[in-house]
């Protein structure tokens, strides 16, 4: 069996497994898994830029929040229905990543990280500043009546899970497809050696910009879906913490692997969930994990698996 068919088989299998879990899981884990799948889309968006292109952004919460607010503010204040509001969320993510991409790509390395961090911080502060509309840190609840697409009530657990699964599958297969095409290979080439890629005649700047657009829009899709499925939008999702989370998930699962972001998100979600029963200082787990990962497993879980046995994993 060729490697491409093997990897399509594996990823379709994962989606099928998640579909089957919909009918088996107890309520609590059913809800958690829906949340994890949406957050994994955010992580997959982040992975596109960090894992494959090698650009470490510390400001992805800006894109997540752009999607979330783009969707929820149009629902809340303009009274739009969910379908068109999602489009608005995606468009704001795309526009935001275009602006941030054009500006921040003039820098590289550490400067790129700080510039993205500063833009995200400005975005977070703007969400607080326009508290009249966004209600700041407190946030606002999106009414149950507004959370419907084509007559499907997205606040119902079953349809919420399935909607999350559809988004997850779309993001997963987009990522898988991208890394198999020439475009994805150029991104990896940029990560490995930017100068050499330029020498080979590829437009490095354009490819990086496209990677940011794809990554930002995918993150915005996750943000819009999160707001819609769980009925809440707040400035916390724009804070630095939400820029650090996808980095953590991707590093844990394995940067530059298609399944890594999902594995990392799932693992971290349950780690924090279990530890918050014991202590309020649950971010300690996140901090320890980050330090231990940089020290001992820079490849992440799926990355280690690929290095040891399954070399064909995309």
């Amino acid at each position: 069996m060729s490697e491409i068919r093997k990897s399509w088989g594996l990823h379709t299998g994962v989606v099928a497994l998640l579909l089957a879990l919909n009918f088996i899981l107890p309520d609590y884990h059913h809800g958690n898994l829906a949340r994890v799948m949406v957050l994994a889309c955010y992580a997959m968006g982040y992975n596109m830029l960090f894992g494959y292109t090698g650009l470490l952004s510390l400001g992805h919460a800006l894109f997540f929040a752009a999607g979330m607010y783009g969707m929820s503010l149009t629902v809340q204040h303009l009274g739009w229905s969910a379908g068109p509001a999602i489009i608005v969320g995606l468009a704001s993510g795309l526009a935001m990543s275009l602006v941030v991409g054009i500006l921040s790509l003039r820098t590289a390395g550490v400067a790129f990280m700080i510039v993205t961090l500063m833009f995200a911080q400005a975005g977070y502060l703007a969400a607080l500043y326009f508290g009249e509309y966004t209600r700041g840190d407190e946030g606002f609840v999106i009414q149950k009546a507004a959370r419907q697409i084509g007559g499907i009530d997205l606040s119902d657990p079953m349809s919420r899970y399935l909607a999350a699964l559809v988004l997850f599958a779309v993001c997963l297969f987009i990522t898988l497809r991208v890394v198999q095409t020439g475009f994805g290979r150029v991104l990896v080439a940029i990560r490995e050696n930017e100068e050499r890629t330029r020498m080979l005649g590829y437009d490095v700047h354009l490819h990086k910009l496209l990677a940011i657009l794809l990554s930002g829009t995918m993150s915005a899709a996750a943000g819009a879906a999160y707001g819609l499925l769980f009925g809440y939008a707040g400035a916390t999702f724009a804070s630095v913490q939400y820029s650090i989370f996808p980095l953590l998930w991707v590093l844990l699962g394995g940067a530059g692997t298609v399944l890594g972001p999902f594995v990392g998100t799932l693992f971290m979600f349950y780690l924090i969930d279990l530890s918050s029963d014991i202590s309020t200082a649950y971010m300690l787990i996140a901090g320890l994990t980050l330090v231990l990962l940089t020290l001992f497993a820079p490849q992440g879980l799926v990355g280690e698996l690929r290095r040891r046995t399954l070399r064909w994993l995309p």
Partner: protein, 308 residues
């Protein structure tokens, strides 16, 4: 009250901010200059300094000056020990690789912050200032009988705030002498210029790195001890100063001492002025966007010679 007293008040508050900020930013800039490490956990060393100051001061009874003095002497070296331990256990092992260092220091940030939350708790606690007389500031006014002094209501400062400014000036001078006039300063500057050549000439680069990281943390902790009688000790207090000192270091040019001080004055005073007249959130938005644009269009900062 008219405009002039407002301006003077903004200026004084700004000078206090600038004093604390310049100490903290100097630590950040030193660590980046010599080690090429962007220390995201720097704000937590500031917080640890303030929290330790509270712990130490609460051990003393009697005049508040004794507790404060003890805190001033003990908290910075203790914080430096934590930093050196972090350097040896984590940063050294990842060989100061820029991207991995950032991720690791983000991890350190959360570890230090959350351990403080678990031990010290979520409350904000004050430390009493060693001396705190109010000083009213007179203004000159032109009246019918010639020049005369008057005391506008609400315009004033405290002796402690003036002492903070003085202390910062003295410490900055001390660091400048250390860097330019002593042998250890020479070793640090040699390592900063060219790590490998320094090593070839027998400079113990590893020990220089540990010292610089400890010194940087001690400076942040000192700033924390100095600020705690004005602003209370809290486990999340490191966040805003971290952001501001990043801004200062970037605008001042990395690794440039005079640049850092000038930028701290600029940011501190404009922060004081802007927050007298505008909403602090708007001021922060303008400042963060300003930094982003300085980095994009003038990567070497306003005074520095090289960029990130």
């Amino acid at each position: 009250m008219e405009l002039v007293p407002y301006l003077i008040l903004g200026l004084l508050e700004g000078l206090v901010t600038a004093a604390v900020l310049s100490l903290m930013a100097l630590g950040l800039s030193l660590v980046f200059g010599v080690m090429r490490v962007v220390n995201v956990a720097h704000g937590e060393f500031f917080m640890v300094g303030a929290v330790l100051a509270w712990q130490i001061a609460s051990l003393f009874e009697g005049h508040p000056a004794w507790g404060f003095l003890a805190a001033l002497l003990v908290a910075p070296p203790l914080t430096a020990c934590i930093a050196v331990a972090a350097n040896q256990l984590v940063l050294k092992r990842i060989e100061y690789d820029p991207e991995r260092t950032i991720v690791a220091t983000i991890g350190l940030l959360y570890i230090i912050q959350q351990v403080t939350l678990m031990t010290y708790g979520p409350d904000a606690r004050p430390v009493e200032a060693p001396f705190n007389q109010r000083l009213s500031i007179p203004l000159v006014e032109w009246t019918e009988s010639g020049l005369s002094l008057y005391w506008p209501w609400g315009l004033g400062t405290t002796t402690y705030k003036l002492a903070v400014i003085m202390a910062a000036v003295m410490l900055l001078t001390g660091i400048w002498i250390l860097m330019t006039r002593t042998r250890s300063g020479l070793l640090m500057r040699a390592t900063q210029l060219d790590r490998e050549t320094a090593q070839a000439f027998g400079i113990p680069v590893g020990r220089v790195y540990a010292t610089v990281f400890g010194l940087g943390a001690a400076l942040a902790a000192l700033a924390g001890v100095l600020i705690v009688p004005i602003q209370q000790a809290h486990y999340l207090m490191g966040h805003d100063p971290l952001l501001l000192s990043f801004i200062v270091v970037i605008i001042g040019g990395l690794g440039s001492l005079p640049g850092t001080v000038v930028a701290a004055l600029l940011i501190g005073i404009s922060d004081g002025m802007i927050s007298v007249f505008f909403s602090p959130t708007l001021a922060k938005i303008i400042a963060t966007l300003g930094v982003a644009f300085v980095l994009i269009f003038m990567p070497q900062g306003l005074f520095g010679k090289r960029g990130l």
